[in-house]
């Protein structure tokens, strides 16, 4: 199970001023805190800094590394920002993650060389030049293409984290089910490949979104999802993570569940 802490994102209200004013302390604290409560990777996203994303990415990565050696998830659609983040993160000797590559030809070609050079974990978003997939069959077609190309280009299956692309259930009854079907297909066809997703898309357009997000986590985990990009400070969500892992046999002697309980990490 891989948890990526999503909080360092310049589109969030609390982070934007810190990024613009280069408030290193706030960024470092937030990185440390996310690791402390169980995040495996710290996501770094500054896509809103349109005209200095590259410099900002470099500064954020360097700043976080001064405080901890946690591996980072460099999050941007731009290969320049990804390259700057990866280069800056080299120092901690960990395997970083990049988010994300897709099957869109231009983006794929731009990012694949970075993946080859730095050998990071690689979030692969289920999308190609035809746009976002509409059905499970669409997803399967894109996944086959993506994995085929990635392995051909020297990326190991273990490096790949497929994101099946979650759509709101409010606009399509099958949205949740399609993700589950896709997960089962991946597990059957590519047992070495990991899967990952964000949770908030599923609940768009509906009230009480937290409940939907949490149940969706439990269901996808049951269907084999083994990575999430989420807010690790959300104790209810983390409760669902620890409980599910224990119940799915991923937590020997419930060690993690109990440990987190003693630390008060979940509700």
């Amino acid at each position: 199970m891989l948890i990526v802490g999503e909080l360092i994102n310049s589109s969030r209200k609390a982070i934007k001023p810190a990024v613009q004013e280069k408030d290193a302390k706030l960024i470092q604290d937030l990185a440390l805190k996310q690791i402390e409560v169980g995040a495996d990777y710290v996501d770094v996203n500054c896509g809103t800094q349109v005209f200095n994303e590259v410099e900002t990415m470099q500064w954020l990565v360097e700043t976080i590394q001064q405080a901890c050696d946690a591996p980072l998830c460099i999050d941007s659609p731009s290969e320049k920002a990804l390259a700057a983040g990866l280069a800056a993160a080299k120092g901690n000797g960990k395997q970083q993650m990049i988010n994300s590559i897709t099957a869109e030809s231009e983006r794929y070609n731009n990012i694949i060389s970075l993946a080859q050079e730095y050998k990071p974990k690689l979030v692969a978003l289920c999308m190609d030049d035809a746009g976002m997939p509409e059905t499970t069959d669409d997803r399967i077609r894109v996944i086959d293409k993506l994995i085929n190309n990635l392995t051909k280009d020297g990326i190991k299956e273990e490096q790949i984290y497929l994101d099946p692309l979650v759509k709101p259930v409010s606009t399509g009854d099958e949205a949740g089910l399609e993700v589950m079907d896709t997960l089962r297909y991946i597990r059957r066809s590519y047992p070495g490949v990991h899967t990952i997703c964000g949770l908030s898309n599923i609940s768009f357009g509906l009230p009480n979104r937290k409940v939907l997000n949490r149940v969706f986590l439990i269901q996808t985990m049951t269907a084999g999802m083994d990575g999430y990009i989420l807010d690790p400070l959300d104790k209810e969500m983390m409760g669902a993570v620890y409980a599910s892992r224990a119940l799915l046999g991923q937590d020997e002697y419930c060690v993690n569940y109990l440990g987190a309980h003693r630390k008060g990490l979940y509700k």
Binding site: S11, K13, K16, T48, V50, F51, E53, V54, S78, K80
Partner: protein, 665 residues
């Protein structure tokens, strides 16, 4: 010396720049078939005013404001022009038949949309060779990257050996169609303007004047003879701009509403910081939209010669222009008897529809009879002998007075109509006595009767209506300036307020507006209307001396001004792109892009200003970083672009002077 060749008159003024005074002025009829004749007559009148001898020999600058280019466009005159379009076709009327297209052009980011196919370009140029006197080149989105237009220009100069006009050098505004039209019109005007400049120079030589000759642009500033030869299109619609510049010189005011009441129209413009506000859409001439800078003038169909007509018991003003009855009767005294007959007899016998009982018609020219209907031929035969009132025409022709069908003859300017106008009412009230008061009075009496008023009531009511109308159009124009488009008297929510502002109604409440700048009024009937108009708008009225030659004064006192914007935008590949009038260039850092744009922009504009004939040039470079807030949920500022405005202002170079420049940042 300032010279203005206007629609009716050619005006000339001598302005003493040290005392800032108009020392002499003259007016001669404009000679449309050959403008220089009128200019020569105008100078002759100046000369005959027994001015001090040294005044003429001391003229340091001759500045010309001319309608030549405007007229040439409207009349379709000029050279044969080829248009080469790059990367895109054109829909809509193009003022030339030699149009060719070659692959090329850019996208909105200034990236090549299509590679410029020089093979195709050469083929097109050779196809037009020998058929055209000048070439216009217009590339799709060339304002974001001029390189293709520049490459074609170089190629054309090798192959054709004729003048080449690039669209991006005339405007930096979007609008492929308008840019292309602007380039074609500019190319077409090249021989016309060259001819004018040469013949004006000959006239000046006769009077021993050797001073530099400059020409007024549509924004009111001046350009040298050599730049005028390259960019004649810049002179279109320069008349109104010159009059605004003249108004500021004559009054010393920098901010004002300038109102010019003519015979047909009232023109309203705003003067801001000593310059006319410009029309962001560009100037339209002869039904063609261009992207040439021109003063923003709101023109309304109300003037001294607007028709005052009655329909369904209501008095209406304009927009038709007619001959005032006082003028008609003055020229053709027998019309008075005919009008008296209308008053005593005809008005009671028959209702007139589609016209007014006091209408009289005058034959202006002998038309080509082959193009007329039998009825029109009959009317011409009647009017050839003498002008007549419509009842008389009806009697002669045996037709019903409402069925005469004279309108199309009026539209073709074969026949003129005389009817009641504000000018007539000023005669009735005794303010004017230039023409025939009796003609004006009988016309007014007829219209008063139709409204069931006595003569005095009617005269006062109608003149009041004219004043309200003028106050209304000033208000409308100010609202237009701030982007309000609808008719203020038609917008239901606004109407009750406007009616109270203009004093049309006082029911329940009052409403008043206060202009925060004075009105400068120029034109003939201003003394009679404008004091009441200024009172309605609660502002000061200034009627300057020499207002009747404001255009020529504006020409003589204009400055040289050049201005353009450089756009800096984030590039999709990271870094920044400069879109300047001369190139598109990539930068990694915003700061470097800004430095480059500012320093190169300054060099470029200083050069342009000096070529345009400026000395004592002040260059200002203003940087504006444009951000926009995103939605509240996002709470973020989005960088949109940086705009670098580069502006150069200088005074025209006088005779026997050297050039120099300085910058201010």
């Amino acid at each position: 010396m300032g010279i203005d060749t206007g629609g009716t008159y050619t005006d000339g003024v001598l302005v003493d720049l040290s005392s800032q005074l108009v020392v002499a002025k003259s007016k001669a009829r404009t000679t449309h078939e050959n403008l220089t004749v009128g200019i020569k007559n105008c100078l002759e009148i100046l000369k005959s005013q027994s001015l001090p001898e040294e005044l003429f020999s001391n003229i340091k600058l001759v500045a010309l404001s001319t309608t030549l280019a405007t007229n040439a466009i409207v009349e379709g005159k000029g050279g044969e022009v080829g248009l080469l379009l790059l990367g895109h076709g054109l829909e809509g009327p193009i003022p030339t038949s030699h149009v060719m297209e070659a692959p090329g052009g850019h996208d909105i980011k200034g990236r090549e949309k299509q590679e410029l196919n020089l093979q195709e370009v050469r083929r097109a140029l050779l196809a037009m060779k020998g058929k055209i006197d000048a070439l216009a080149v217009s590339g799709y989105l060339s304002v974001r990257n001029p390189v293709h237009e520049l490459m074609v220009r170089d190629e054309a100069q090798k192959i054709l050996n004729i003048p080449v006009v690039c669209a991006h050098q005339l405007t930096t505004a979007l609008g492929f169609y308008e840019r292309s039209v602007t380039a074609v019109l500019n190319a077409r005007l090249l021989p016309t303007i060259a001819e004018l400049l040469e013949s004006v120079r000959k006239v000046l030589n006769i009077y021993g004047i050797e001073a530099p000759l400059m020409v007024v642009k549509g924004d009111g500033s001046l350009m040298s003879e050599s730049v005028t030869r390259e960019k004649p299109i810049e002179t279109i619609l320069s008349g109104p701009a010159a009059s605004i510049i003249g108004a500021t010189f004559l009054t010393g005011r920098k901010d004002a509403v300038v109102v010019d009441i003519g015979g047909t129209t009232t023109d309203v413009a705003s003067l801001e910081a000593g310059k006319p506000m410009l029309n962001p859409e560009g100037a339209a001439v002869g039904g063609l939209l261009t992207r040439v800078n021109a003063a923003r003038i709101s023109t309304f169909g109300v003037g001294g010669d607007s028709e005052l007509w009655v329909e369904k018991g209501e008095l209406k003003i304009g927009p038709q222009r007619v001959w005032p009855l006082s003028v008609g009767v003055n020229l053709y005294p027998h019309l008075l008897d005919e009008l008296e007959h209308v008053w005593t007899t005809d008005r009671k016998t028959k209702e007139v529809s589609g016209g007014q009982p006091c209408d009289c018609y005058i034959l202006l020219r002998q038309p080509d009879m082959d193009n007329l209907s039998p009825m029109e031929k009959q009317l011409i035969e009647i009017l050839r002998i003498a002008p007549h009132n419509i009842f008389k025409i009806a009697a002669f022709s045996g037709k019903d007075v409402s069925m005469l069908g004279l309108k199309s003859l009026v539209d073709r300017e074969i026949v003129a109509r005389a009817s009641l106008t504000p000018t007539d009412l000023l005669h009735v009230r005794g303010d004017y006595s230039q023409w025939d008061c009796r003609g004006a009075e009988v016309g007014a009496r007829i219209q008063a009767w139709r409204l069931k008023r006595d003569l005095d009531q009617f005269t006062n009511q109608a003149l009041k209506a004219v004043e309200r109308r003028i106050a209304g159009v000033i208000l409308q124009s100010l609202l237009n300036d701030i982007g309000y488009r609808t008719d203020i008297l038609k917008e239901p929510l606004l109407k009750p307020f406007v009616e109270r502002v203009l004093g049309i109604s006082t029911e329940q409440f009052q409403c008043m507006v206060k202009l925060d700048k004075p009105i400068i009024a120029i034109g003939a009937p201003v003394e009679n209307f404008m004091p009441q108009v200024a009172e309605l708008l609660n502002t000061e009225l200034i009627i300057p001396e020499h207002a009747e030659v404001a255009n020529a004064v504006g020409a003589a006192t204009g400055q040289v001004m050049e201005q353009f914007d450089i756009l800096i935008r984030p590039s999709p590949e990271g870094g920044f792109i400069i879109h300047a009038p001369w190139e598109r260039k990539d930068f990694l850092e915003l700061a470097d892009a800004v430095d480059y744009a500012a320093s190169e922009g300054e060099k470029y504009i200083l050069h342009s200003a000096q070529r345009a004939g400026a000395v004592e040039v002040n260059v200002t470079v203003t940087r504006e970083d444009v951000y926009s807030n995103t939605s509240q949920r996002w709470e973020e500022e989005l960088f949109i672009e940086t705009r670098i405005e580069v502006m150069a202002v200088g005074r025209p170079q006088w005779q026997d002077e050297k050039q120099g420049g300085q910058k201010v940042c």
